[in-house]
Structures are given as C-alpha cells and as structure tokens.
Amino acid sequence: MEINMTFLGQMISFAILVWFTTKFIWPQISGAIEERQKKVADGLAAAERARAELKDADAKVAVEIKQARQQASEIIDKAQQQGNQLLEKARAEATEEINRLKAQAQDDIASMAQRAREQLREQVGALAIQGASKIVQREIDPAAHKALLDQLATEI
C-alpha cells in the first residue's frame, strides 16, 4: 500500500470523466426524460379532459334522447287523436250518407210503386174494357164510358 503518482493520475481521470458526463451525457438524457415526462403528463391531462368531455356529451345526449322521446310520444298522441277525430267524422258522414241514400231509395221505391199501381190500374181498366167489349160484342166508346171505366178502375 503505497501512495504515488497514480493517485494524481486517477484524480485527473476522474475530473475528465465527471466533466464529460456533466457536459455530454447528463443534459441530453435528462432533457429527453423530462420532455417525455411532460409529454406523458400532457397526454394524461388530454385523456382526462376528453373523458370529462365525453361524460358531458353523454349527459347531453341522454337529455336530448329523453326530449326526443317525449316529443315523439306527443306527436303520436296527437296523431292518434287526429286519427280518431277523422274516423269519427268519417263515420258520421257515412251514417248521414247512408241515411240519405236510404231515404232516397225509400222515396224512389214509393214513387215507383205508385207508378206501377197507376199503370196496373190503367191496364186493368183497359183489360176490363176489352173484356167488357168482348162480352158486349161491340165497341164501347171509351169517351162515352170513361166515367164508368174510371170508377171501375178505382174499385179494382
């Protein structure tokens, strides 16, 4: 164990080494590390922000969906009401129409029956006259016997 010039040499070596590390190694590596740390921190903050925004958006969407659903149900209700009204109106109109048509038809039937009765009466009158003329064997003057014939026709 002796101390000699090696001691000085090692001190100088050490000084060079420390200088080199301080100048060329530490600043670069620590700079890179710090920058990456900052990037990661920024990234995490951004992710956090995005998550919060997403949460906000979700809440907004939920409110909007609720509103939309409410509106839709309102619209459906209204549409149903309107439909019912329309149906009611249509039914009323149809009933009215039916009644009207029925009345008309009854009228028609009545007038047609009346006419048919008239014709029948006339034909029966004519037939009666024909029959009578055949029976009498002579021409009955329809004008002369009109009153008689009419009376006959009404009696039939």
Partner: protein, 279 residues
C-alpha cells in the same frame, strides 16, 4: 496455473499483487511511481462508460425510447432518484457526478470478476513465459489505494467547493471555527476556536479516508479471496471445491461490486448535501 512462480501459493499471491509500474524519477523514490495498470484499466473503463452513454445521449429522444436508451435511462433515473432523495437543490452538476462515480466504480469493481489469471495467461501465450515472469498486471483499479484515494480526494474538493459556494468564503471559514461547539461571548468563542477547527479538520479529512479505505478494502480483500480460491485449483483433488467456492464467491461478489459503487455514490451525495447545510 500458468503464471505461477516456483514458490507455491504465497509467492503466487505476492506475484499477483504486484503492479505494472513505470517510474519517471527512479532516484527520487517510490512516490514517482505510476501504476500503469490502474491508470490504463480505469481510463479504458471510464472511456467505455462515456462512449456507451454518449452514444445514447446523442440521439436521446423524448418519444418512444429504444431498448438501449431505456436501459441507460433506468440507470440515470435510478441515480437521479437517489440524488433527489438526499440532496435538495440544483442537481445539474450533482447527478452527473454521482452517475460518473457509480458507473465508473462499478465498472472498475467488475474487473474483479475476470479470472485472476486471464491477464497472465494472455501474456504467457502471446509474449512467452520469460516476459510473463516479469510482467505484472492487476485488473482491478479499485483494489489500488491510489485509485480510491484519488477518487475520494477529488470528491473532497468538490464537497468543499459546494460548502464554499453555499455559504460563501467567509461563512465557510466562520463555520470552521464556530461549529460544532457554540458559545456566547467573545472569550468563550475564542477559547473554542481551536477545538472547533481541530474537530472540523478531522471530520473533513475522515470523509475521503473512510470513502477510500472502504472501497479499497472491499475490493482488495475480494481479489485476495479470488486468488486464494484460485490456489485451490492447483491440485486435481481440490479442483472441484475450488470451482464451487469460486462460483459462490463470484456471485456474492456481484453484490459487493454493486453495493460498494452504490455506497461510494451515496456517501458523496450525502457529503455534498451536508456541506450545503448551515449549522
């Protein structure tokens, strides 16, 4: 074993404890010796560390790091965390210092894991037995007291520099003679100047001595044990236990290598942190 001289284990170990020495002034005594092996190995290892870290520092990216960069960053951040926990202040010079100490001491300690006879065998094989008999080479620079003292004295200068920078030249000088014993009144203060100064000198000088001795003792002892174990492998009877002991000691030594590098670094940081504190 190849480079073993004729005189058995004692001489084998003594042979292995010799340094490769160049003396610039042979007439002026042993102080002018330069241990070439310590200087060269430590310088090569320091350069290796610089090159390795510089290659990754040069193209360090803040994006996705390569595996190599990530590994370098793990080491750097490990050291930085230790510094941050102990030292509260501007770390721009302290962390590089701690990193240099840690990596360099670790590399130098790790030389202990190379086979003790590897150097001798290489010389023997490539330069012949005669050269091998005269060539000494020790692979572990930290098992040389000059290396550890050199490191710790440099650390001492840095620590004193931090103290002066934090307190100013006057404050630093004043603390030398007024702490740790505080007194009221000029008489008592004057009496305490000498004891205070003496204690502070002892305290300051004990730092590099303890730093250097701890590292040196651990590595020197470790190296010695490796040599003793290597002595076991001389005979075929003790060869197998030799291998077992060697492996066990090497595995245990990995812990010591890392631990001693870590302790040296930690104590340096602690010394700097204490030097910056006001009493």
């Amino acid at each position: 074993m190849v480079s073993e001289p004729q005189g058995g284990l004692t001489e084998y170990i003594q042979h292995h404890l010799n340094h490769m020495v160049i003396n610039f002034r042979p007439d002026a005594g042993a102080f002018w010796n330069v241990r070439v092996d310590s200087i060269v190995v430590s310088f090569v290892l320091g350069a290796l560390f610089c090159l390795w870290f510089w290659l990754y520092a040069r193209k360090a990216t803040s994006g996705v790091p390569s595996k190599g960069q990530a590994f370098v960053e793990i080491i750097v951040e490990f050291v930085d965390t230790q510094v941050k926990d102990t030292f509260h202040g501007d770390r721009r010079t302290v962390t590089p210092l701690a990193l240099s100490i840690f990596m360099w001491v670790f590399f130098m300690n790790a030389m202990d894991l190379l086979p003790v006879d590897l150097g001798g065998w290489l010389v023997h094989t490539f330069a012949g037995a005669e050269t091998a008999h005269h060539t000494f080479f020790r692979m572990v620079p930290t098992a040389d007291i000059n290396t550890t003292i050199g490191l710790s004295v440099a650390v001492l200068f840095i620590v004193i520099g931090h103290g002066i920078k934090a307190k100013g030249g006057f404050g630093f000088g004043k603390e030398l003679i007024t702490a740790p014993f505080h007194a009221e009144g000029p008489v008592a203060k004057t009496i305490l100047v000498l004891p205070n100064f003496f204690l502070n000198v002892v305290e300051t000088l004990s730092k590099p001595v303890s730093l250097a001795m701890r590292l040196f003792g651990n590595m020197y002892g470790g190296e010695l044990v490796f040599m003793l174990i290597a002595g076991l492998m001389v005979s075929w009877i003790s060869f197998v236990p030799g291998v077992v002991f060697n492996t066990a000691w090497a595995i245990f030594h990995i812990l010591i290598i890392a631990l001693q590098a870590f302790i040296f670094m930690m104590l340096t940081i602690v010394y700097i942190a204490t030097a910056r504190e006001h009493h």
